[in-house]
Symmetry: C2
Subunit: 322 residues, 2 copies
């Protein structure tokens, strides 16, 4: 694999993963209608998307199912109600959050599940737990990723130590995650090389956030540096500033199996009405400011919810917290 | 100058040019209130912005002043009513559009004007006319740029021929202009090198559009490749998908003279109310599609104005026109 790909290449190694329901679920508390989910599944199949993430597999002991939509838990039967046996080329993933799931009991053996891939999300201090989760899912027969969150806040040699531990595990894909939308493309070039190099013989992935309107640009940059698993969401739907837009990424990639039209139809039919009904995601000034300051978007979400527009003062408040 | 700058560097050669009134004027027919213009001027001074473009110097023989706001014409006395003698470090520019201005008569000698820079905009087939305009403005005492528009549609050796002609002229700055928001950062890296190399001993600039949410990313990429004159607009206000956001660019640049706070205050005080009053600019799906297809945004502007959201069909319509 060359260090820097040419964008005119057709790279069959590249995989697009739609995580609209998982990251977008953080916008609507996982309250997607069955019609939405069915249409999204069909659109992803038609668009040539490689993986679709249906949601989190959260612990029902820690989170009350009455307080969330069903895709916070993503039960096997709920997925099957949409996809049947999933006789399509599209693979299915779920996300298991370290410390927020009962993975030993709630993740079935692969032979009993329509899920193909388990994505283990963790913070850098949870790597030992994540490795236990990776080993558990791998031994059950799944493809497994490790998505280390908030790495723009990890200093010194902690990240290198974490990457060594993860690369020695049976994981298939290691994800670079820009949780706060803090990275510039130049940072991505550096970090992607680190991740790709550490995963020799395995794969690297990228998951971006759009705080500085760089989610797509950073995804392209990661791709140029040999990162093969690329996350995207329809219309960028995801927490706060959202993610890389599927419609941008699919039109950029040169593999003829990808088509942006089914995704455009999803935007017309579902995403625009969801926005019109009051759901909010995507770039806005407060997200730029938390992104620049490498902060969690929760304060920006609160700022917007309160109807505030005094951005300078918000910047001062953020600066007092760093 | 190194071929690829490190973003932590403090580069005193970099200049930020605010063209909110010129490109944003295409959104509101140049109908800015005097209060807006005065506040923008003060904000740019306070933010350390290097140049502020007040508008076009269009021909009153070709365009009826009754049909446009005054910044389509940007008379000397209208600028002076805002800036007086402009006793600030901020320089003032106007744009002269090839074939749409009476530059010989309407551009005064520099000694009689508060304008510092004339930016000559042209298409590649107008280079001989542009060079006459450059020579005229230069001989009158101005800093002069040449902004060749729509170069993403110029094939073969026409662009190289144009760059040779412009670089042999007395121009100070040659602008790479991504009129249709068609370029990816990888294209910018290639084109910026071409422009910078062709302008040895002079300067290169970049003006982006945000059709693919890449205006900021492309501006950064151009900057890394030695492009020093960077266009931006407050809140990205500009035709169609708009431009690189000033608040993003200023927070990215490391020169301590730049401050994003005065720009944030402009957004709070003026840009949000303008949006609330119905003015539209910024990323939207139709602009993505014209950007991908390297088309003029006018069809997308019309599509949006008509309230259409059938994106797939719009894509088909565009494909029939290329």
């Amino acid at each position: 694999m060359s260090n820097s790909r040419n964008m005119m290449n057709y790279c069959p190694d590249i995989k697009v993963l739609d995580c609209t329901m998982r990251d977008g679920g953080l916008v609507n508390n996982f309250g997607f209608t069955d019609e939405f989910v069915r249409d999204l599944y069909k659109a992803n199949v038609a668009a040539g998307v490689d993986y679709m993430e249906f949601g989190y597999r959260a612990s029902k002991n820690m989170f009350d199912p009455k307080e969330f939509g069903k895709w916070k838990f993503t039960d096997e039967e709920d997925i099957r109600a949409i996809v049947g046996e999933n006789n399509t080329p599209l693979k299915i993933s779920i996300m298991a959050d370290a410390g927020r799931c009962d993975y030993k009991t709630d993740i079935l053996p692969k032979k009993d599940s329509v899920v193909d891939m388990v994505r283990v999300a963790c913070y850098v201090h949870q790597i030992p737990l994540a490795i236990d989760m990776i080993e558990d899912a791998k031994s059950k027969g799944y493809e497994v990723t490790c998505n280390i969150m908030a790495v723009s806040k990890v200093s010194g040699n902690d990240l290198d130590a974490a990457l060594r531990m993860v690369s020695a595990s049976p994981v298939d894909v290691l994800y670079l995650v820009d949780s706060f939308g803090n990275f510039y493309p130049e940072n991505i070039a550096y970090m992607a090389k680190k991740y790709v190099d550490s995963m020799a013989g395995k794969q690297a992935g990228f998951h971006g956030h759009n705080n500085q309107q760089l989610a797509f640009a950073n995804t392209i940059e990661a791709c140029r540096r040999g990162v093969n698993y690329l996350d995207a969401t329809v219309n960028g739907m995801g927490r706060g500033a959202g993610n890389c837009y599927s419609e941008m990424l699919l039109s950029f990639l040169k593999n003829p199996k990808y088509a942006e039209r089914p995704i455009l139809d999803m935007v017309s039919k579902h995403l625009l009405p969801m926005r019109a009904a009051g759901l909010r995601w995507g770039y806005d000034v407060p997200y730029l400011l938390t992104g620049i300051l490498n902060s969690h978007p929760s304060s920006a979400i609160k700022f917007i919810k309160e109807g505030r527009t005094d951005y300078s003062r918000f910047l001062s408040e953020l600066e007092e917290m760093i």
